[in-house]
């Protein structure tokens, strides 16, 4: 923060100093502006919690809400930093300077350390041009108290074998994994030991199925400070008027604190949340060069983007394996891992809530050539490579590379795009544009090596097949589009235009993802703009989209005539694969669903009416109807309607009145598919 302020203030001070000299030397009125200082007082603030202390005390949960809960109501002040303060001081300035060699414009506002914006634009003899802006604001983030995750009752009393006479099984009682397992885990994580005084009611639950939560910071108030700093610099070389150099820089930062959640695996669902610091920085560096020689204009730019996440690295120690009420249940994939009744060193905690660092390099070439006064062609090429630089990082301990690794390789996404356009003024009233684009995307595969239970002591002889697999990407595809637009000036004040575009996507890994191999889309457009008279303008448009095989998931739901995949019942033996997850959930889903349209109609209307000089009004509206009937089950449909009316009246030079209304309506019909669990 200080760095930005220092840069801005230094730049501003230098500008003022230069200008002061210039003023004294040249003109007295070269500098104009306004300085402002003031204060803000909150008459009603956010400090009243929306959930009362009484309500908190009524909450009977292991995540004992004995401490105050953070105010939940941020709605009115989602982006207002000073909302929970009594008062603040602000300063602002607008400055403009002009003389024959230098000029600059500056505006700035300081309300608090998390609510500021500045803008500075300057030029020296039109050779060197500089523009920079900086802004920061606070965004209050949500705190999910997870009150919907309380389908449980914590059992009274410690988890001992003597309590096993309760009506149902006790998921967290010492079970077949052995007391020694739990002891090792609880030694490492005493906070999660149900036999300690503070958590006697915290680990054992009644009921065949249960969902419960632990909020480790119920008083956490979450927010993100987002700042953006843009710099643009241009250099014109007087000796070479067609040659220009430029350099752009953009920095975006997010800092603050947010809620990070994680959950246990399989059987009982234990959702835990922690407070996590945010510290993310994105830098874009974009050098550019352009050259113009008569009819030819060429521009090349290079982008290097660097995203770095220095936020808190979250780790969680998960509960011991859950023992369900069904005899013979052996949740082998539950962390932490045990081998021969001993907690495996390094498996105590696992990472969660992380965003990998990444980089992006992009080469962008554009070319424009004016063939003659009526014909222009433009072309371009963009090649980019985005890299996840942490896939080979891993986490120290047993599950290091198995969890996050590509075994030394970065995860890369490459994209190459070629585009061309020809614009021709065929006659005085007819204009034609033909355009085309081809893009190919290639994303790396990821090999998943699962360290399954067979390597762990007591489960060595279990007959489960290997769970290793290769994840292919949906970003391996080729995209082709081509089309034309024709505009005809039918008469003075009236233009009619139409166009057609073909769009095709070929997906390389369609078989793995159970989606269409090729999607083809045809778009027809027709539009008319009519200046009826000096007071009335009208515009009407219609667009039709027809799509063959829109993106869909073939195995999305059970067939409509068998809308419910039945439960196979508890396994009778460890080798009874037919009663596992896959046949009852995924294999039972054989019908297609999609939320993409086969046919879409879109109508647009815009108009303006100026009955007299002091009164102007404009109107807009859009209606879209889309449907897809090539699905299993009912059709997918969407109705969307937006409209608005704005009126401005200026009865005198000293009075301005405005009024506006906007309307939005969207409804869609679809089918909803869920996996049903009962334990």
């Amino acid at each position: 923060m200080k760095r930005y302020l220092t840069t801005m203030v230094t730049g501003f001070a230098l500008s003022v100093a230069i200008c002061s000299l210039a003023i004294s030397a040249d003109e007295q009125k070269a500098l104009e502006g306004e300085l402002k200082v003031g204060g803000t007082w909150m008459l009603e603030d956010l400090d009243e919690p929306s959930i009362t202390d009484e309500a908190l005390r009524d909450k009977t949960s292991a995540s004992s809400f004995s401490v105050g809960k953070a105010p939940g109501a941020k709605g009115a002040a989602e982006y207002m930093d000073i909302a929970d303060k009594e008062s603040s001081v602000f300063t602002g300035a607008d400055l403009n300077f002009r003389n024959k060699n230098f000029d600059f414009d500056f505006s700035g506002r300081y309300e608090s350390s998390r609510d500021q914006d500045y803008y500075l634009k300057g030029a020296a003899s039109r050779i060197f041009l500089f523009e920079t802006d900086y802004s920061i604001f606070k965004h209050r983030l949500d705190h999910d108290y997870m009150e919907n995750l309380n389908a449980h009752i914590f059992r009274a009393g410690p988890s001992t074998a003597a309590n096993n006479g309760d009506p149902v099984g006790l998921p967290f009682a010492p079970g077949s994994a052995g007391a020694a397992n739990n002891a090792a885990f609880y030694t490492a994580f005493p906070d999660k030991d149900p036999n300690t005084a503070g958590y006697q009611n915290g680990m054992s639950t009644l009921g065949a199925a249960n969902v419960y939560n632990t909020d480790w910071d119920v008083a956490g108030r979450y927010y993100a400070n987002r700042s953006e700093w843009n710099n643009n610099m241009k250099v014109n070389i007087p000796a070479l008027p067609g040659l220009k150099f430029a350099f752009d820089h953009r920095q975006e930062r997010r800092s603050g604190c947010k809620q990070a959640q994680t959950m246990s695996k399989c059987s009982a669902c234990h959702i835990e949340s922690y407070s996590k610091s945010i510290n993310e920085t994105t830098n874009d560096y974009i050098p550019k060069v352009s050259f113009q020689a008569e009819a030819l204009n060429v521009e090349y730019s290079f982008l290097h983007r660097d995203f770095e996440d220095s936020s808190q690295e979250m780790m969680n120690g998960y509960n011991s394996m859950a023992e369900a009420h069904v005899p013979g249940f052996s949740p082998l994939l539950q962390f932490p891992a045990y081998s021969n009744n001993t907690l495996v060193s390094g498996s105590e905690v696992l990472p969660f809530s992380r965003t990998p660092d990444s980089t992006k390099d992009s080469h962008n070439m554009r070319l424009r050539y004016d063939i003659d006064a009526h014909n222009t062609i433009t072309g371009g090429m963009v090649y980019s490579k985005t890299t996840n630089t942490q896939t080979d990082g891993g986490v120290a301990g047993l599950f290091s590379n198995q969890l996050v690794g590509l075994y030394g390789d970065d995860l890369e996404l490459e994209s190459t795009a070629l585009m061309a356009k020809w614009n021709s003024r065929l006659t005085k009233v007819l204009n034609l544009t033909v355009h085309g684009k081809y893009q190919t995307l290639n994303n790396d595969n990821v090999a998943i090596d699962v360290n399954d239970g067979r390597t762990l002591g007591k489960y060595t002889n279990e007959p489960y097949s290997t769970l290793d697999f290769t994840r292919t990407s949906g970003y391996d595809l080729d995209i082709l589009s081509a089309g034309f637009d024709l505009a005809w000036r039918a008469m003075h004040g009236m233009t009619v235009s139409g166009g057609y575009e073909f769009h095709q996507e070929d997906r390389q890994n369609y078989e793995h993802h159970d989606v269409p191999e090729t999607t083809q889309e045809h778009t027809f457009k027709l539009k008319g703009d009519w200046r009826v008279n000096k007071k009335v303008n009208l515009g009407l448009g219609y667009k039709l989209q027809l799509t063959d095989d829109p993106y869909a998931l073939y195995g999305a739901i059970c067939p409509p005539d068998a809308g419910f995949a039945t439960y196979a019942g508890p396994a009778t033996a460890g080798t009874d694969y037919n009663r596992t997850y896959e046949p009852n959930i995924y294999a039972a889903r054989q019908a297609t669903r999609s939320n993409q349209a086969e046919t879409a109609h879109e109508f647009t209307l815009k108009g303006s009416f100026t009955p007299m000089q002091m009164l102007t009004s404009n109107l807009y509206g859009k209606y879209r109807y889309a449907e897809n009937s090539d699905l299993g089950g009912s059709d997918w449909t969407q109705d969307l309607f937006t409209a608005g009316l704005n009126v401005v009246a200026t009865p005198s030079q000293k009075v301005t009145l405005t009024a506006g209304y906007n309307y939005f309506y969207d409804t869609y019909e679809s089918m909803y598919c869920v996996a049903i669990y009962d334990g």
Binding site: G33, E34, K36, G38, T40, W41, M42, E44, S50, I51, K59, T60, G72, G75, A76, A83, M146, E147, A151, H152, I153, P167, V168, L206, A209, V211, C266, V326, G328, F329, S330, P331, C558, G563, F564, A565, A568, P570, R579, N584, I585, R589, V655, T656, T658, A659, Y661, N662, Y663, Y665, D666, Y668, S670, Y672, V674, A675, I676, Y677, D678, G679
Partner: protein, 153 residues
């Protein structure tokens, strides 16, 4: 590997509807040479709701704790029943959105002389959240007053 009493996949027709109205009014008046007054107001009404969702296969499969006939309310009066798949059929009641927000800004400025001026602005925001979502009731009201001194040159 899951071999507990998880029992499959189910689907249902559903529809979701979103609607929003926004009204805006504004006025700027200069009643005297040195005085400027302004007033702006906006009012937004927003709703979102899920239509009926009904999984017919669930009604005959109440295999959760209800079948145990165990009166859990003696342990926790707030938790009469435990997790039960039947409750999935009530999801339409869990995610409705309904809010109204009113924003008002009033401002007045006075030019003391050619270079110096003073001003005051009043800000009022009221959010009325009629349907709590997972983040709780977001209803809140904010009022603030801003005063300033300006110097033009």
């Amino acid at each position: 590997m899951i071999t507990s009493s998880q029992f499959g996949s189910e689907h249902s027709d559903m529809d979701y509807e979103t609607e929003a109205h926004t009204f805006m009014l504004g006025a700027a008046v200069e009643p005297m040479q040195k005085i400027r007054l302004s007033a702006n107001a906006s009012y937004t009404l927003g709703t979102g709701s899920l239509g009926e969702v009904y999984f017919s296969g669930l009604t005959g499969n109440l295999t959760s704790d209800l079948k145990l006939n165990y009166n859990v309310s003696t342990l926790n009066p707030n938790m009469v029943t435990l997790y039960n798949t039947y409750y999935v059929n009530q999801m339409e009641n869990y995610s409705d959105l309904d809010f109204a927000q009113l924003d008002i800004t009033l401002g007045a400025s006075y030019s003391i002389n050619k270079n110096v001026g003073v001003g005051v602005n009043y800000y009022y925001t009221d959010l009325n959240d009629d349907e709590e979502y997972v983040y709780g009731d977001q209803s809140s009201t904010l009022q603030s007053l801003m005063g300033y001194l300006s110097y033009s040159f």
